[in-house]
Symmetry: C2
Subunit: 352 residues, 2 copies
């Protein structure tokens, strides 16, 4: 019997469509001859759509997306400084809205330095960790405001909101992730010495949940110190759990040391399955190189592998990762066209 | 005529006293034979003092410190996990209290990769930038609270407060800093696409102030992207200005790529001169290596050079930096005792 997976595809702006095209090709190639079939719906959303219609994420479209089993997302964002986008905020209105409304509380971002890939670090060592970033609260809630805007007496606030429910579920997810990995190590990152209110709730929750996972070795690091360890000894990390903003910062840094943001994949996971989870490369829309076949689709392809994992197609996901690994091992420094990378990865797919 | 400078010395905890001892020796050596005399008062503050007396920063002592021309600060903080310090928060009660009460709004942190120093980066290029970090507001204000602590319904908030006055003065300081440097480049860093309220006030202020500095090339970077550039192309930075929390994170990262946190100096500047400015290494108290003569005093010594700059002793500051540069050029990877580094830098001081 054929299993049909409903996939919502949101290629977005800039290099988004180019890299998603390759991710889709790889998905087709890895599923061919099996009993899984993808039924895709493409949604044209992002800065370009906004410029054409003034719409960011119409309610009916959001509802239609919600009917799918998973979402494959490219990248959104127009040309920086485009005056027509001044009041758009596609990031908040589309990307973050999906993460929040679909309750993607576990934003999972693995960082692996694949053999053959040169790191920006002189001596990176074995890099293989995963960041579990909280995705639905913290400083990202948009809470806050502005008084006397544009005057010398302006005051602007930004409120980080943290709940026991919200922190606990992502911390628990991170413990489960650590449990499934051989090293069984969890590092939680915050800035408890300064952000005393938000820090204390994280501290309490981690302590409580960790009592349920005696096999997991837990340590704590201030976010500033974590950036130092990430560039001086990334091998010490196994699983990292942290809040929405610290996770944003640390995963870009992790991407950079793990061979570049062109390889960094992510999953916005709703572990409860109430809403479709969403898989996207960590990189942005890079309008400066869009349409030139210069973008590396590997991050999108590795995101598609996370999507396969999430849909219980672990064997297929592993085949994609093996193909990526094989390609990176021979690719070296050579710049290749976006489609050529897709070709090479498809050619390297191990047979099932 | 002899000029007497009143210097408050706060060695603090852990390696603080060891590195400050060397900074003091270098200060004496560079000033010897000149017409400047240091009148020092030592204040024993920090975790150790707290454990002995239960005091963090008594009001009379703070007033006494305020009577000085400048502050030389080591590092504070006890052994992590020490239960007796559970309710202390020396960082907020002492270090941040001094920064806030003495209105140290420009937290200046230069990052230079000195010749002979190995960076953690494979190909760092020319690294020579300075981060101007806001020091008196943003997410550091301690504003926020906790409801239903310890229950499943706990909510904790943390409020970033940003004022036009507060943002403008530090942004202006950064423009002045850029003006004084050959490359005349200013990069402001925030997360405007997500932290829309705090981001907008920064955006407005930077735009307004930049109109007064037409010679300065200004660009903007999201904080996550800034971490990528910092490890992939740090040479692109000249002056960075950013908020208190982003500055905390970026300057630890900058320290790491600039040859390690053992070399990272900082000045907490009150440019108005209403209160004494405070100079401190970026590193912490490192209780694990305290008392073993293992700490590198170079960061403290370079902080003393910033102190000399601030007191209009630029020639003396340059002599200290030259000596540090000379020492680093020959030092190589060899680990040396804290005092031996002080000796070497004193021996390398160019004559006036
Ligand atoms: C585009 C932006 C809103 C987003 C974020 O801050 O989460 C991005 O940086 C990311 O990491 O996915
Ligand atoms: C100790 C801590 C409060 C401090 C800060 O966060 O500012 C430190 O990390 C620094 O950068 O000086």
């Amino acid at each position: 019997m054929t299993r049909t997976i409903k996939l919502a595809v949101l290629p977005g702006d800039g290099i988004g469509p180019e890299v998603i095209e390759q991710a889709n090709r790889v998905l087709d190639a890895v599923l061919v001859g099996g009993d899984v079939e993808l039924a895709r719906t493409e949604f044209k959303l992002g800065a370009e759509r906004f410029l054409e219609t003034g719409e960011t994420l119409p309610e009916e479209e959001q509802q239609a997306i919600a009917e799918h089993d998973a979402i494959l997302f490219g990248a959104v964002g127009g040309v920086p400084g485009d005056a027509r986008l001044k009041h758009a905020n596609i990031e908040r209105g589309l990307l973050l809205k999906l993460r929040f409304d679909f309750d993607h509380y576990a934003n999972v971002r693995p960082c692996t330095l694949f053999p053959g890939v040169e790191s920006t670090l002189r001596a990176p060592g074995e890099v293989d960790f995963v960041v579990v970033r909280e995705g639905t609260e913290g400083p990202y809630v948009g809470n806050g405001g502005t008084l006397r805007a544009g005057t010398p007496h302006e005051v602007a606030t930004e409120v980080s909101v943290n709940t026991a429910m919200g922190v606990e579920r992502v911390v628990r997810y991170a413990f489960e992730t650590a449990q499934s990995r051989p090293r069984k190590k969890l590092t939680w990152v915050h800035k408890t010495n300064v952000l005393v209110h938000a820090g204390a709730i994280w501290q309490r929750v981690v302590a409580a949940v960790s009592a349920e996972y005696p096999e997991i070795a837990v340590d704590y690091m201030h976010v500033d110190a974590a950036t130092i360890f990430m560039v001086q000894d990334p091998a010490r990390f196994d699983v990292i759990v942290t809040d929405n903003l610290f996770g944003d910062i640390l995963t870009d840094l992790a991407g950079a040391i793990g061979g570049g943001i062109g390889l960094a994949a992510s999953g916005n996971i709703n572990p409860d399955g109430t809403f479709p989870s969403m898989f996207e490369p960590v990189h942005g829309s890079a309008p400066d190189i869009a349409g030139q076949q210069k973008a590396d689709p590997t991050a999108a392809i590795l995101s598609a592998a996370l999507l396969l994992d999430h849909l219980d197609l672990g064997a297929e996901a592993d085949r994609v990762r093996e193909a990526v690994r094989a390609d990176l091992a021979v690719r070296g420094d050579a710049a290749r066209a976006t489609a050529a990378v897709g070709d090479a990865i498809i050619a390297a797919l191990p047979s099932r």
